[in-house]
Chain length 217, copies 2
């Protein structure tokens, strides 16, 4: 028979997966809102961020409560501490989706992304979606092998980020400083979102193997 | 007689203060390196970041070890969980100082900050220093009143950040897109550093009062 403690651990893992799922929807919707200047969708992402925050708050309270009541040691304790850290990373990823959506809203009815950067931002959104999808699977199946792959997937995001900056610096850039500021911030939001995914993947890797893949970001 | 447990808690608090002190030096030196195009000082900040990371790593290991051995409940457990979160915030503040220093190094022998923004960046550095100073005192003395003040101090950083963006958007801005990108990122680093200080201050407030001043950032 499974213990009540392990049922509670499972429920914590389920809440983390729920957060990851909401973050994925938020980032995906934020990218769509940004590229299509879709105000209603941007507003939806902005409003939905508090849901992610609420789940994190509740999840952290349950995690700390479980620590206090069950006084876990060794791997169970490590799992609970890691849950707190993963929920913080996921909450921050939600914030970054929220920032992207706010940028879309700020430039409405214009599109914040100039035509030359549509492809780059589309790709950044696609890479973010794929990263978060893989991350959910890594978290669900405690998959150390795919956790390592997320490092490589993040390299793709870094490449896109460099490409974005190169476009801004090109002599042909004709959208001025305001748009360059927007795009610099947007690039940073996508890059940081991917960094947090890598950080969570490294935590899963450590939980599973007891070894560090690389320093947690 | 004080328990060995409380001695260990004190030693964890001391390490958090040590991290805050290193972060303060890093941010202060990074600002000086940036404003004076001082390559040696920038390199010093960049190299010193690993020291902050090492302290965090060691501190977190000791905190988790103490949780496992002493199985604390109630306020002691809350203190240990909060220590893990504060160390993560401080580590990130160190990263942001490191980012500022890298920006200084990247533009050497030129100064990354154009003359029109010297005063703004100087002020952002001053506000960051003052915030971290106050934060150290809040952490050391578990001072809920001053913890709340840090929220207001952060408003000053937000004001400077808006001022920085306004300068970039002014018709008189003549330093082009590359410099605007640099300054956008630098502005974000200072702003995020202050946000993390606020987040730590809110955690102290919660530990002391059992109530939330505002959502932790």
């Amino acid at each position: 028979m499974r213990s009540a403690f392990h049922d509670e651990l499972d429920s914590i893992s389920a809440s983390l997966l729920q957060m990851a799922s909401l973050v994925k929807v938020a980032m995906s919707d934020a990218t769509t809102a940004l590229l299509n200047a879709d105000l209603a969708l941007a507003e939806k992402v902005i409003a939905a961020d508090s849901e992610i925050d609420t789940i994190q708050h509740d999840l952290d309270a349950r995690t700390i409560n479980l620590m206090a009541r069950q006084q876990p040691v060794a791997s169970d304790l490590r799992t609970l501490v890691t849950s707190l850290r993963m929920s913080a990373d996921l909450e921050r990823m939600g914030d970054l989706a929220h920032h992207v959506a706010k940028q879309a809203r700020m430039r409405f009815p214009n599109c914040a992304v100039p035509a030359e950067l549509t492809a780059t931002i589309t790709s950044m959104g696609t890479v973010a979606n794929a990263l978060i999808d893989k991350l959910s699977s890594v978290m669900e199946h405690k998959d150390a092998v795919r956790a390592l792959e997320i490092e490589t997937d993040d390299d793709e995001m870094d490449k896109l980020h460099r490409q974005l900056i190169a476009t801004l610096l090109d002599d042909n850039w004709k959208h001025g400083v305001e748009s360059a500021i927007d795009m610099t911030l947007l690039g940073r939001y996508y890059e940081r979102c991917a960094d947090h995914a890598v950080s969570i993947a490294r935590r899963v890797y450590f939980l599973v193997t007891g070894e560090y893949a690389a320093p947690v970001l």
